[in-house]
């Protein structure tokens, strides 16, 4: 705190901050980078040292029927989940933000609850319930489970946006002669679009990524991408897993990023700048 050296301490503080930040980032990203780097490693074993650059593990992946099956299954489930959840989420958020009814507060809390309950508990719970009504585990159950997992997040996102859309926009449209459905289509929905896109992307990613709950719910003989990777790992850490991991990273990081970019350019274009 010496007045004649005002920036010496400041400089050290900055260096320290920089070093800690670097450590945190290394810690966060090293595993991801390792996976990506190792996926291009020519070695037979899925670990270091690096022996050469190769795309053979990707080639192998493309001919691995179980992996391709799992990929298709996951894609399909994630798409259905994202679509259905987003539709439900919009409706729920509309009701919770725009209308007054008894027990609104309770319903609001209940909708969010599944996000707070540990996934394993949800997994077991749904399974127990299915057993109680004597139904087999099916794809429908798996999709329903994923909807259950993603709905809270979607409701939260759409609700937050909905609160920001002034009711007077809708009232203005109504007063100008637009019936309720037209008002929703022309005013509310376009203003909700950012939240809708975000919901679709988030629901897709959550569903595509989900491991623990899917382990409980998948029907016999069906694998999703994460469960497939898990079962591959049971044998050994093959370099193929690294390649698969890289594909997963690309998808789950790339899709939201792309969505964000599209959205940004959309608003940019709208603003006419």
């Amino acid at each position: 705190m010496r007045a004649d050296h005002p920036d010496r301490e400041g400089r050290w503080a900055w260096r320290l901050t920089g070093a800690i930040t670097l450590c945190v980032y290394v810690f966060m990203f090293a595993p991801i980078i390792a996976t990506v780097v190792l996926s291009f490693n020519a070695s037979m074993f899925g670990g270091f040292p690096l022996t050469g650059f190769s795309l053979r593990w990707y080639e192998k992946l493309l001919t691995n029927e179980p992996v391709l099956d799992a990929f298709r299954t996951s894609m399909w489930i994630a798409l259905v989940t994202a679509t259905v959840t987003t539709l439900l989420g919009i409706m729920a958020a509309l009701a919770l933000v725009r209308f007054e009814f008894r027990g609104k507060q309770a319903i609001n809390t209940l909708v969010i609850l599944p996000a707070l309950v540990p996934e394993t508990i949800l997994g077991v719970g749904l399974l127990v319930m299915i057993k109680a009504v004597d139904q087999p585990r099916s794809m429908a159950l798996l999709v329903l489970g994923h909807i259950l997992l993603t709905l809270p997040y979607v409701v939260l996102i759409v609700q937050a946006r909905m609160v920001g859309i002034k009711r007077s926009y809708e009232e203005a449209a109504l007063s100008l002669g637009a019936p309720r459905v037209s008002t929703f289509r022309e005013i509310t929905l376009p203003l909700l679009i950012p939240a809708v896109l975000a919901s679709i992307l988030l629901a897709f990613t959550i569903s595509f990524d989900n491991t623990s709950a899917s382990l409980f719910w998948r029907p016999a003989g069906v694998e999703t991408m994460p469960t497939q990777i898990l079962s591959m790992l049971k044998i050994s850490i093959s370099p193929e897993v690294n390649a698969l991991g890289t594909v997963m990273i690309l998808l789950t990081v790339g899709i939201p990023l792309a969505g964000g970019l599209i959205l940004q350019s959309l608003t940019w274009f709208k603003a006419g700048k």
């Binding site: 203005a172 449209a173 109504l174 007063s175 100008l176 019936p179 022309e186 709208k270 006419g272």
Partner: protein, 391 residues
């Protein structure tokens, strides 16, 4: 709303409904059907009565202002015309047609909001054309009428702009264009000026009034700003706590406030309590609580000893004028210099403060100076013990 000889509507809470009906009657004779008519409207939110016994008939082409403090029910009434608030009992007619069960989008009303409420994702043209589109107006006609409306609000050529590229005043003018372009039966303005800054507000006041007169549209304007109400309206409905206090022309509500509330709300009148000591022809001698005795013209003979309140506008008070009928000695507590005039707060004894707003020439008087506050016997209003104007 009524002819000059039938003025003096003095609805007081209990009689507001009846007075409104009279108004409706006198309205119907000269001009036919009122543009908007309320009959015995009650609006409850749960157990809370937002509006009680509201009756009013509004002549076609007139500019009516609902004036009152926040929470008085004025906005609720406005929204009930639009169909955005359900009335609990009574009936509302627009153009002679009951609208209680007609949904908002079929009511053919123009609505202007405090926060403009322009659709942020649509450009000016699409905003203004919105109402026409839902009335199946052919496209070339839409283009023509949007252009005309934009000319009217003095923003020609702004069709392709987005609301975010316009200033607050411009946005409100577009909102006005959007609300009048389809020639609605009634234009509802919900505090449209309060989000604008002071300079803009005055311009918009003049502009709204001009457009209303040019188009001949019936306008209902909600505000808590007495200046807006006085300067723009043909008729003012003063409301308080869900009830009508007075209906009248700006001059009537200002010069002849029906109740203590109206006197106080419009222009912060001085309220001097006292009691009648003697009647002298048409003049009443009144002993004020401050100790002074004043002479005030009374509209009728008053019983000696009856409690009254003398209402005097700050503008009717002069400071130190010779020859005035009533002189109250006092001391200046505060001075606000406003250029051409000054507002003084003067302590006239017994803790009574009066406000005088007088024209000045040069320097205002200083705080602490002893002065005489003067006013004539005419131009005062007398309220009875219940706070109602003695007529």
């Amino acid at each position: 709303m009524h002819d000059d000889n039938s003025h003096d509507q003095q609805p007081r809470p209990a009689s507001a409904g009846a007075a409104g009906d009279q108004l409706a009657q006198s309205e119907r004779q000269p001009t036919g059907m009122p543009a908007v008519e309320f009959r015995d409207i009650d609006i409850f939110y749960g157990k809370f009565a937002a509006v009680r016994d509201f009756s009013l008939a509004i002549r076609k082409g007139s500019f009516v202002t609902l004036l009152g403090p926040s929470g008085c029910g004025k906005t609720t009434i406005l929204r009930s015309i639009a169909g955005l608030v359900d009335i609990s009992s009574g009936q509302i007619s627009i153009g002679g047609k009951r609208v209680d069960d007609i949904p908002i989008y079929k009511r053919n009303i123009g609505l202007v909001f405090q926060n403009y409420a322009l659709f942020p994702h649509k450009n000016v043209f699409d905003n203004v054309a919105f109402g026409l589109k839902y009335r199946n107006v052919p496209k070339p006609e839409i283009v023509r009428r949007v252009k005309k409306a934009l000319d009217m609000v003095r923003l020609p050529g702004s069709e392709t702009k987005l609301p975010s590229q316009l200033s607050g005043g411009q946005q409100q003018r577009i909102a006005l264009a959007r609300a009048i372009v389809f020639e609605p039966e009634v234009l509802l303005l919900d505090e449209p000026l309060s989000a604008l800054d002071a300079n803009m507000r005055e311009d918009m006041r003049v502009e709204i009034k001009k457009i209303q007169r040019e188009t001949g549209i019936t306008a209902i304007f909600v505000t808590h700003d007495q200046e807006e109400a006085l300067s723009m309206s043909d008729h003012i409905v003063v409301m308080n706590a869900g009830l009508i206090e007075q209906i009248g022309s700006p001059a009537q509500v200002y010069d002849q406030p029906a109740t203590a509330f109206v006197a106080n709300f419009l222009g912060k009148a001085n309220m001097l309590p006292g009691s009648v000591t003697v009647m002298d022809g048409k003049m009443a001698m009144i002993a004020l609580a401050s100790g002074h005795v004043v002479k005030v013209a009374a509209p009728k003979a008053l019983a000696t000893g009856s409690a009254v309140t003398v209402v005097v506008r700050p503008q009717k008070l002069t400071v130190g004028t010779a020859g005035a009928a009533n002189r109250l000695a006092g001391r200046i507590v505060s001075t606000s210099y406003l250029g051409g005039n000054a507002v003084y707060e003067i302590d006239i004894g017994a803790g009574t403060l009066v406000r005088a707003n007088t024209l000045i020439d040069g320097q205002p008087l200083r705080e602490g100076e002893a002065v005489d506050v003067c006013f004539g016997p005419l131009g005062c209003v007398l309220l009875d013990a219940q706070g109602l104007r003695i007529a």
